[in-house]
């Protein structure tokens, strides 16, 4: 199978435009619509009514709960196919087993004829506490990761990885705001997982770039610009396959979770994961890579390399509109084998340079 020769870096303007628009929409949606936070963050009570009367309405449940003394009541019917099977009623925070709370529960059961009730209470302060803890965990994590990637690879790679990660998170949260999905602790878990995935993807890409740097200066790898592009092409199949194998189980979770009433946690998780991983694959290829090239562009050495490459392109009368186009096939592609293979066969190719490292 041949290694593709796509131009990731050269078209970076296009990717910047796409990502920019997506981020702008996300931030706008977040600013205007805000997030629909579950009771876990703001405090409140939730009643999960199972096997309710088929013709019960949301308004009926809302009025019943309000009459029993609850405030800020929202009621949501849950259906399986055509049939109403359950309902989720949320109220403000009422102390469990207090008089009002018991009245609300009894009334809801009476009106809906529910067979079983799942109940959740979250105190008003608790939500803030776990939110703060999550943010704390996030910050610690980011610092650790920057240090690790810097130590293992390079600081500019760490910076590009973190940028790609923020990109993923902002867009995922933006989709939540835009569509109005409920944000639950499961969503937060999913977002944190997306962090891991996004970084993992970026690390795989940059690890390849780093490995290829020994060949910097070779034809087709004359500058970081070309080197990164070639590396991205080498990992593109891996990226696609990994996203497919990651999205398949999550997709299964999403589809099956939607069929089952109690599996809201699974569904919340799967939804955020599905969105985030999708964006994550895009960003590791189209955001992290080009961004790293851009950061490298400030180094005088890289500018010299670029100038030299441009000079060569001019003398070869290469089209100046696409300076970063990989005119020599990427190493590893069958086309590239002819000039390079001989060296490899003789054992003087890449292997020799590797030993030098």
């Amino acid at each position: 199978m041949r290694t593709p020769t796509l131009d990731f870096v050269g078209n970076s303007r296009r990717w910047i435009a796409i990502s920019g628009i997506l981020i702008a929409i996300s931030l706008l949606a977040l600013g205007i619509r805000g997030l629909d936070l579950s009771i876990d963050f703001v405090g409140g009570n939730a009643y999960q009514l199972v096997d309710v009367r088929a013709d019960v309405t949301a308004a009926e449940l809302r009025d019943a709960a309000t009459d029993a003394g609850a405030q800020d009541v929202t009621a949501q019917l849950q259906t399986s196919g055509e049939e109403t099977t359950g309902a989720l009623v949320r109220t403000e925070s009422l102390e469990p087993a207090s008089e009002v709370e018991r009245a609300v529960r009894a009334t809801l059961v009476e009106v809906s004829e529910a067979q079983e009730v799942g109940f959740e209470f979250v105190g008003p302060v608790w939500g803030q506490r776990i939110t703060l803890q999550a943010i704390e965990a996030l910050l610690v994590f980011l610092v650790v990761v920057v240090l690790y990637i810097t130590f293992r690879l390079e600081f500019k790679m760490a910076a590009a990885s973190i940028a790609a990660l923020l990109h993923d998170i902002v867009i995922t949260i933006g989709i939540y705001a835009l569509i109005g999905f409920n944000v639950s602790p499961a969503t937060v878990i999913a977002l944190l997982t997306i962090l891991g995935y996004s970084l993992y993807d970026s690390v795989v890409v940059f690890d390849r770039v780093k490995e290829n740097t020994v060949n910097l200066g070779d034809p087709g790898l004359r500058s970081y610009r070309e080197l990164v592009n070639a590396s991205l092409n080498q990992v593109v199949y891996r990226s696609i396959n990994t996203s497919v194998t990651s999205l398949l189980p999550v997709g299964a979770l999403l589809v099956i979770g939607a069929q089952v009433l109690g599996a809201t946690t699974l569904q919340d998780l799967a939804l955020a994961l599905f969105l985030g991983m999708g964006v994550g694959v895009y960003s590791s290829l189209f955001v992290a890579g080009p961004l790293f090239v851009w950061l490298k562009g400030f180094e005088p050495e890289e500018q010299r390399r670029l100038a030299k490459a441009a000079e060569q392109d001019d003398t070869e009368e290469a089209p100046s509109t696409a300076p970063a186009r990989v005119d020599a096939p990427a190493p590893g592609s069958p086309e590239a084998r002819a000039p390079i293979t001989t060296e490899y066969v003789r054992g003087q190719g890449k292997g020799k340079k590797r030993r030098k490292r």
């Binding site: 302060v125 965990a137 690790y148 962090l195």
Partner: protein, 495 residues
């Protein structure tokens, strides 16, 4: 190349797989969390009385409070109640319980400390021992003894005596008078060393009112002692007699212990370590009684068993479906290397289920819905290590190496990449585990374990299997890139 280590490594993994299979086959199953089996799951946060500052040993006082609650929870008849302190929060997990009102009542009530006079001891076997209360019944089902009344109370199980008839260890019973002092009167209690004797003792500091009452009571007790009676008082926490100290010979009848401070010396005939432990326990009991911490629900969740079971089914089904789909994809795309990956992922599934079951047995770990999600998410990570490896082999073969060399070279770089990537994820999992509370922890733990398992399988299973397959000629240039028709043409033309 010596092939023996490769086979040993494969055999090693197979052996674990077979053990895991047998373990599960014999009926071992993971412990299920509350959200999967139904019940009440709650987190309580301690609330101090207004005006109280947070004491330094708050965590220990909460532990003592938990002990009190645990004794009460017995009355619910829960098979495996799990009450644990997480930081300064108290996590309560009651499988199969649906009575929220009762739970709230049991946990929300603060422990009451009182000092009462001992009227007489009723050891097991004595004629009156069969009177109420029944000391083997849960604390919550015994009739509470009001503060202004005397009656019979049970001692703590630690100070039990053997029943002369059955030889069974039963707690002492005491007939006691009404409460003379309560926890409110205690300002502080601490472990100290006695002057001169260097014995461990508990120092007690009472408030003004308590000091006066204490002086009067100890004066009476000293008189009783002089008359040849017992002259002891009982320290009672939550209707259980924790200790029954007497008054020292130096305390005079008609004077008592004045000044509002006293020391309680632990029983004689013990080693220094036992003395210290006794004194520490008693001081903690006194402090817990003095600081009535009320526990307030922060989260409270009841899950119906039906919903729990449905969630579990959904999770299992999704996990299986995910495994099958990923397996098919890998087989279709990578053929032989894909087959290694599929077996690797199946082992992953087997190991993780057996591992969780084992953790349940050994440390009482319970699998929650978030944990299930963590496992499913990790299927992708496990598949990825195989994908990276397969892609690297293909790259190396494309560069003109023989397959036998390619699998070794490819492993070196794939392993490095994978190690870096997994380290990031493991770091994420560890940080989440230690900094977060509630469902996030279960998820993080599963994610972390899965990543370690992934590295283990890649090194001890995928690597030797690929080496062996390449060596046997099953992994060929052709099979490595048979997918792309163009490449096949190129390869064919060159052949």
């Amino acid at each position: 190349m010596d092939k023996r280590p490769l086979y040993v490594s494969i055999a090693f993994v197979l052996l674990i797989a077979v053990s895991a299979g047998v373990y599960l086959g014999l009926g071992a199953r993971p412990n299920l969390g509350l959200d999967l089996q139904g019940g009440i799951s709650a987190i309580y946060t301690p609330r101090l009385p207004p005006g109280e500052e947070e004491p330094e040993d708050l965590e220990e006082i909460i532990d003592e409070t938990i002990e009190v609650i645990r004794a009460r929870v017995d009355s619910l008849g829960v098979a495996e109640p799990d009450i644990a302190r997480v930081g300064t929060d108290v996590q309560v997990q009651l499988p199969g319980v649906a009575d929220a009102e009762r739970v709230q009542e049991i946990i929300g009530t603060t422990a009451q400390l009182s000092f009462r006079r001992v009227v007489r001891d009723i050891p097991p076997g004595s004629p009156d021992y069969d009177q109420d209360p029944d000391c083997t019944a849960p604390v919550d089902e015994r009739a509470p003894l009001p503060a202004d009344e005397g009656g019979i109370l049970c001692g703590s199980l630690e100070e039990s005596a053997d029943d002369p008839e059955s030889g069974e260890a039963l707690p002492m019973k005491y007939e006691v008078g009404p409460a003379e002092l309560t926890g409110d009167n205690i300002e502080d209690a601490f472990v100290q060393l006695g002057t001169g004797t260097q014995a461990f003792q508990v120092g007690l500091q009472l408030d003004d009112e308590g000091g006066e009452v204490f002086a009067a009571v100890t004066s009476d007790l000293a008189c009783e002692r002089d008359q040849g009676l017992d002259g002891r008082f009982a320290i009672v926490l939550d209707d259980i007699v924790e200790s029954t100290p007497g008054v020292n010979p130096t305390v005079a009848c008609g004077v008592g212990i004045t000044g509002g401070s006293a020391t309680i010396t632990t029983a004689g005939g013990l080693t220094r370590e036992e003395q210290e432990a006794d004194a520490t326990d008693l001081a903690l009991v006194l402090r817990t009684g003095a600081l009535p911490i009320s526990l307030e629900a922060s989260t409270f969740q009841t899950v119906s068993p039906t919903l729990g079971a449905e969630s579990l089914q959904a999770g299992l089904l999704a996990g299986l479906l995910g495994l099958v789909l990923v397996g098919l994809w890998l087989l279709w795309f990578y053929r032989w290397v894909g087959a290694i990956a599929v077996i690797g992922i199946s082992f992953y599934g087997l190991f993780i289920v057996a591992g969780v079951a084992l953790m349940g047995q050994l440390i009482g770990f319970a699998l929650t819905l978030a944990g299930v999600a963590g496992i499913i998410v990790s299927i992708g990570i496990t598949a990825d290590s195989s994908i990276i490896y397969a892609e690297r082999i293909r790259d190396e073969v494309n560069l003109g190496k023989t397959v036998r060399t390619a699998v070794v070279r490819a492993f070196e770089s794939a392993w490095r990449t994978n190690l870096t990537g997994n380290t990031v994820t493991i770091a994420a999992a560890a940080i989440l585990y230690f900094l977060a509370v509630g469902p996030v922890r279960g998820f993080a733990l599963m994610l972390g374990i899965s990543n370690v398992l992934d590295l283990f399988l890649m090194y001890f299973f995928s690597r030797p299997t690929a080496y062996v397959l390449a060596d046997r000629g099953l992994l060929t240039r052709r099979s490595m890139r048979a997918v792309d028709p163009e490449a096949r043409v190129t390869a064919g033309a060159r052949a």
